[in-house]
Symmetry: C2
Subunit: 429 residues, 2 copies
């Protein structure tokens, strides 16, 4: 590819970028929290269909994936969990590619903490604000408009390209897993999660679990004879944090995180308990997220978590005889390190992305070991497919006033278009 | 009153007792938690009307009571807060009497912790099980059937008697306050709350408040840069318990509680917070109940609570600049000590109850300073009316498998009938 060709592609992204921003705003306006992704998926299917891609829209069948490695226990009903894939069939000359992104967004939280409504995206000083604008609807937009830019020049990928818009990335990953089960495979995958135009070389595993505590309810007048299920949570939370501290010790770190003093975060993300101010509460439930290093065995981790809770409970007068119940619901995700993939496919894919990034930015591609998980693990661990996580700069993802930098979205779209051209090859339309 | 008369009354209670137990079972089957008292109040109004009492059934008007001493901030809507009073007009010879009881019950909590459904009362080994059976539908039954027993003998009270079935005892007391506002006054009040056939000589004040905390939400991957609103509650709860410890010190105790090492209980009764396991939670709310001694000023207590929370928050990096919000919702109740009422009316009322109790039991009436509040404070503090709290033996009130001892209900009904006879005098029907 000549530098003239590359420049044409960069300009073609510029030419479609206003439409890309409009698309991103419309997509962000769909409040696609878990279970509410349908309207956003309808929009995606419509946009893919209008471009002539073969659209596959299906509801995830839990029974079809429950036996597969990487499956996470399901939260709630799946009748509304819909994936969308648009397929471009190439002439077969290049290497095939999956362009993956997730449509689900995390809850917006209290509205009064947002400067403007989370699902009414607005642009200010070059940033678009809105829940999901960064994580990761900008990535879905850059995937789609990278292809549009090539088409604007009269080109299409020479190989097969599968455009995936999946659900469940934020809680289980079962959306990406369902794509694997449905047979979608390629020589590489690109996932533009918002990590500031850096290539993610390692990601953590994640476990979600709920701790259900019982208490001995009484009238508060006799509180001393009862057992408060809410307050019983406090020493268990402290014990979990001690475990978090141990797991982060230097001698337990994965090499990609050797210099990260606190990669594994334990988060108490939800709590509820009790019914009445003047009754000693009979129940409390709290939700925990814990990170794991790549290579850390999930079953071993779960056994340690259970032992920590059991030991803490054994020091509590009521819990000693009424053990906490631990429910695994959601993420049951192993860590994944692209850095450990020495295959030719991985080496080549990284090299092509490095070239693309350099052409756009004039600087080398930075690498990053992230402290979260992404759907990359499904491609990397369970389909022998190198998965490149590379997306725009965003701020306050999962927070309020989530925002994504539009010039960064432009550059990622340009790098993606160049990567497609290099990886897949181009045919004249 | 001759011992022959007394024996007749005791036997008359026996004669109506099967019907009383049936009545109690039916009343307990109405799930009259806060906001759901209507069917139980309909039943009460019907039973009172069928006996020929003049029935007053009205919806509490918050505006009419909000300015009165003893008012507590209202929780939720009041459109469904219905009081029922049945009036017996006497010939005017004796002393008038209010027979008061509350129809509201506290939430039943998790059903799986009950041996049998909480609103399907059952009798086993002489106890009736069910939410509210003890607290305090048995008291409503004993008030009503004490009058029935006298009628069974062909007697009625010579003075006015006001039978009150009120809402809101468990959260504000505004039901009893609304009866005062509506003009119901008498020379004494009897409230058969379930305190094991002891006379309550003092009761605590109670404050309810909510603590609203904010956090700084982020993706858990960057938990260190956020602030967890759920975990921020932990040091505040600890600080409140330190305050509880101070308030219970010997030098701060009311004389009726001099030997009680821990009369004032602070209860964390409810909590909720967060939306998503993998987001650092942006909010947490917990509900607190705190006891106060009689004579302890509510405003001083609130100022101390606020100072304690403010100080604890000042040591927290995020709360320091984002102060907890304290919302008073529900009990704003002063303590009340019948023991401090030296008036002739109080002395006489206590004496008559002592006689009645002795006649039933052959033993002296025990006295008790309780660690809860009751509606007695409205009569005692705001209407100059001695309020005798004296009711049956119950277990696990506010807990699961709440139960009331039926023989105790029988004895309390007998003592109440004797008390009415002595206090009000009797006329032949």
């Amino acid at each position: 590819m000549t530098s003239h060709d590359e420049t044409s592609i960069l300009h073609a992204v510029d030419a479609v970028f206003d439409r890309e921003v409009d698309f991103l705003a419309e997509l962000t306006s769909h409040p696609s929290t878990r279970g509410n992704e349908q309207s956003a998926q309808d929009f995606m299917a419509e946009e893919l269909g209008a471009r002539g891609y073969a659209v596959d829209r299906w509801t995830i069948d839990v029974d079809a994936i429950a036996h597969l490695p990487g499956f996470s226990p399901v939260i709630g009903a799946y009748e509304d969990a819909v994936n969308v894939v648009g397929t471009h069939r190439g002439s077969g000359k290049g290497r095939s590619l999956i362009l993956n992104g997730h449509i689900d967004v995390v809850p917006e939280g209290p509205l009064d903490m947002w400067h403007s409504p989370p699902f009414a995206p607005r642009i200010e000083d070059g940033w678009m604000y809105g829940r999901g604008a960064g994580d990761m609807k900008a990535g879905l937009a850059s995937n789609l408009f990278a292809l549009d830019a090539l088409r604007h020049l009269g080109y299409q990928p020479a190989s097969d390209v599968f455009f995936q818009s999946v659900v469940e990335e934020e809680c289980t990953g079962n959306g990406a897993l369902a794509c694997l089960e449905r047979g979608y495979r390629a020589d590489a995958a690109l996932i533009p999660e918002p990590f500031s135009e850096k290539l993610v070389t390692a990601q953590l595993g994640v476990l979600w679990f709920q701790v259900h505590l019982k208490g001995m309810p009484t009238h508060v007048a006799y509180a001393g004879s009862g057992s408060n299920a809410i307050e019983a949570a406090i020493p268990l939370i402290a014990a979990l944090h001690e475990m978090e501290h141990r797991w982060n010790r230097a001698d337990r770190r994965h090499s990609d995180y050797a210099d990260h003093n606190h990669a594994l975060n334990l988060n108490i993300g939800k709590i509820s308990g009790g019914d009445w101010a003047s009754s000693v509460p009979a129940w409390c439930v709290f939700d925990v997220r814990m990170g794991l290093f790549p290579g850390q065995d999930l079953d071993v981790a779960k056994a340690e978590i259970e032992a920590v809770l059991r030991e803490a409970a054994s020091e509590h007068p009521f819990l000693r005889k009424n053990a906490p119940e631990i429910v695994y619901h959601g993420f049951h995700a192993e860590g994944y390190a692209l850095s450990e993939n020495r295959s030719p496919a991985a080496t080549q894919a990284i090299s092509e992305l490095e070239h693309a990034h350099m052409s756009v930015n004039g600087s080398a591609l930075d690498k990053l070991a992230i402290t979260a998980t992404t759907d990359a693990r499904f491609f990397g661990l369970y389909a022998d497919t190198p998965a490149l996580v590379y997306g725009p700069r965003a701020e306050a993802i999962h927070g309020f006033n989530e925002q994504v930098e539009l010039e960064s979205v432009r550059r990622v779209t340009q790098a993606t278009a160049l990567f497609i051209a290099r990886w897949c090859g181009l045919d004249k339309i």
